[in-house]
Amino acid sequence: MLFEDYFNLVIMAIISLAFLLGMVRFIKGPTASDRVVALDTISTLAIAAMVYMAHIYGRFIYVDVSLVYAVLGFIGVLAFARYLEGGI
């Protein structure tokens, strides 16, 4: 039991560190495209974090939330790419 708690803590710490690095690029990023790439990575991180939290708390409903978030993030990135190409 003890091992599991430590393991969860370490995994969530690594993911939060990755969040921080993504946020730094999101704030610094010289162009808008860089910010979108950073946002895409952050949303992938958020999906993974939500699925893992669903395991920690034992709640299946969080998996649904992360699936919907994956779909919405994908559509958002596509819309932005279309805007860069001059489509919208």
Partner: protein, 115 residues
């Protein structure tokens, strides 16, 4: 209830977390947009897939929905990174290249001439 599946689950979760971190590190360190797309979104894709696979081993009742998520991530991520790369190129964001190799430039120039 420690079975072989639990250990496999821990292994895949740890591997996934490490790759997620490497993806974010790539986003932070790479020199220009295209290399950031390369290192960032794709290492983190493998990371997320591996982490979700690990959770599927830890919680065997959920595997159907987790498999759908893995498939969705595997299909949607190449599409979105390709869309960002092409959109940025059309937005006149030139790639950083030490040896100045850029085969796509001529295509864009011929399109400009047609206009």
């Amino acid at each position: 209830m420690e079975t072989i599946f639990t250990y496999l689950g821990y292994f895949f979760v740890a591997l996934g977390a490490i790759f997620l971190f490497l993806g974010a590190l790539g986003i932070y360190r790479m020199p220009d947009l295209y290399t950031r797309v390369q290192a960032g979104t794709k290492a983190s894709t493998l990371g997320a897939m591996s982490l979700i696979l690990g959770v599927a081993f830890l919680e065997p009742d959920w595997w159907i929905k987790l498999l759908i998520m893995i498939l969705f991530i595997a299909f949607s991520n190449p599409l979105s990174s390709h869309a960002i790369a092409r959109g940025s190129y059309k937005h006149n964001l030139k790639p950083f290249s030490k040896e100045q190799v850029d085969a796509y430039e001529e295509v864009e120039e011929s399109k400009e001439e047609q206009k």
